[in-house]
């Protein structure tokens, strides 16, 4: 069953069109990675799905309802969460407060969900009262993911979760992503450094210059020499 369907979406900033009809699909409970060289339109795709950019053509369907052009706060309520690549935490708030902000739209008790997140990221458990601004890149990324998970979303979208992280930390992040997925959350990742991400993915898409180029299982894409050529042209 498909959770998210992006169908021939065209989008961009102002008069600058970046996506020229991109289609992807995320099944419920799956991990999907979108890779591609810089400028391929990966982040633009994320922002368009989440309603930060309005598509000029195409449809986006989520949980069997159309969400094309819906504003972010409504998309959040439908069960989708988004972790931007940079500036994805509130630096002057503590870990606990960052997580609480993730649950801003909830009116009922969310302490159970919060405990689950602390179990998922034990490093954060000891630092609940610490200001996130003083924490390292890897810990910030975990806070950002934790914040996004507070609403118990059906789909978690991560924009380059391993960017600017040391390799061992990046490995930890991907390990956590698998753990989050095991609890039933579908995950859509955008990555430039594709290997780690494709290893854990059920399915992968390759974008180039705002268009779909390849689509296959993660393993097959890793083995596909043509994908590499796409990065290097020719």
């Amino acid at each position: 069953m498909s959770l998210l369907t992006v169908n021939a979406v065209t989008s961009g900033y102002g008069d600058m069109e970046i996506l020229h009809g991109v289609s992807i699909e995320v099944g419920a409970g799956k991990i999907v990675t979108v890779i591609g060289p810089n400028g391929a339109g990966k982040s633009t795709l994320m922002k368009t799905i989440f309603g930060l950019l309005t598509p000029t053509a195409g449809q986006i369907t989520f949980a069997e309802k159309e969400i094309t052009g819906l504003s972010p706060d409504l998309v959040v309520r439908r069960g989708m969460a988004y972790v931007p690549q940079v500036e994805n935490i509130f630096p002057s708030l503590t870990v606990n407060e960052n997580l609480e902000m993730g649950a801003f739209i909830l009116t009922d008790d969310f302490s159970g969900q919060m405990e689950e997140i602390y179990q998922l990221f034990p490093i954060l458990n000891d630092r609940r009262k610490q200001r996130v601004g003083k924490m390292s890149g890897g810990e910030r990324q975990m806070v950002a993911m934790g914040r996004a998970l507070m609403l118990d979303p059906k789909l978690l979208m991560l924009d380059e979760p391993s960017a600017a992280l040391a390799p061992n930390l990046a490995a930890t992040i991907f390990e956590r992503i698998v753990a989050i997925n095991a609890s039933g959350v579908a995950i859509l990742i955008v990555e430039q450094n594709a290997k780690e991400s494709l290893k854990v993915s059920d399915r992968g898409y390759v974008l180039a210059s705002g268009r779909n180029r390849f689509e296959d299982t993660g393993e097959n894409l890793l083995a596909n020499q043509d994908v590499g050529q796409l990065y290097l042209g020719g």
Binding site: F50, V76, R77, Y82, P84, F90, E97, F104, L151
Partner: protein, 307 residues
């Protein structure tokens, strides 16, 4: 020797005016960090609060709501009730101004918001002047006798103790609000990163309304307390304090409400102590010079973050 002996007394006066400056400074800082501009109408929002309290108080007197002085204070229940209503009404008025004006200009640069706040400042002040005239109005005309604190030789009036206590209570309340309530945290989050706050599902428009509510309430309180301390109010009451409030905010680090408290106290005390050495009329200039020195030494202020 004579000058030095006056300093302890001046320190006490400094804490009193510093209290009022701190309250104003917190409001200016919150508005700056969350809404993103220096609000030059803040002083006149203070005056608005003071006049609404005056209006309600005379109304309550005409309704024979009792105002027997509470203990050693110069005012009683009727005045306190008027003040509380005035604080609420000022908050409402300030939110209305935002809806009509600032909210619609928010897509422009912060300089345009600053400019429009100057228009609001003059309009508010002259609305007060239109209805009440430029002459001073008295809350209570009774003269209060200062008590001398034995041993120290410092004189202080019960009303002044009240001002300091109200300030402490409000600072604690604002701190608790920002620290422990959901809306307070959302306000800090919005100040940190407005775009992320929206992505997270925080209703930033409601955050802005709340910011004005708190900013307006603090303005009214500061205005009323200034009226109690001065014994009278004029439409220029807030404007006369605005420069000192801005100096306090810049000193503490613009956009940091805790810095505003520190800055308010420093400015309040320095202004009062300076009167031992230079003419009283130069108080605002003293604040201004401290501010300029701070800008030269460390533009981010005492508690400011480096950007």
């Amino acid at each position: 020797m004579d000058i030095l002996s006056r300093i302890p007394q001046l320190l006490v006066y400094g804490v009193i005016s510093g209290s009022i400056l701190s309250l104003g400074g917190i409001g200016v800082s919150l508005i700056y960090s969350i809404i993103g501009f220096s609000n030059f109408a803040y002083g006149d929002m203070m005056a608005l609060g003071a006049y609404i309290a005056l209006g309600l108080f005379s109304l309550f007197v005409s309704w024979s709501i009792p105002n027997t002085p509470l203990g050693p204070l110069s005012f009683g229940f009727g005045f306190i009730l008027a003040a509380i209503f005035a604080i609420g009404l000022t908050a409402v008025a300030v939110v209305l101004i935002d809806r009509i004006l600032f909210n619609r200009l928010r897509s422009h640069s912060s300089v345009i918001l600053m400019m429009s706040s100057i228009g609001v400042a003059l309009a508010l002040r002259n609305i007060l002047q239109f209805f009440w005239g430029p002459q001073p109005h008295y809350y209570i005309e009774r003269i209060q006798i200062a008590t001398v604190i034995p041993g120290l030789g410092i004189r202080i009036k019960p009303d002044q103790v009240f001002i300091i206590l109200v300030t402490i209570v409000l600072v604690v309340l604002v701190h608790a609000f920002l620290k422990y309530t959901k809306m307070g945290k959302a306000m800090r989050a919005t100040a940190d990163n407005n775009a992320l706050a929206r992505v997270t599902g925080i209703n930033t428009d409601r955050v802005i309304v709340w910011t004005w509510v708190i900013g307006g309430a603090l303005a009214a309180t500061a205005g009323i307390l200034a009226g109690i301390e001065n014994k009278f109010i004029t439409p220029e009451l807030g404007w006369q304090m605005l420069l000192s409030i801005f100096a306090a905010v810049v000193l503490g680090g613009i956009g940091n409400p805790y810095g505003a408290i520190v800055g308010g106290m420093v400015i309040g005390i320095t202004e009062e102590v300076s009167t031992a050495f230079i003419p009283t009329g130069y108080k605002p200039a003293v604040a201004f010079i401290i501010m300029i020195l701070m800008l030269i030494v460390k533009p981010t202020g005492l508690l400011g973050k480096r950007r």
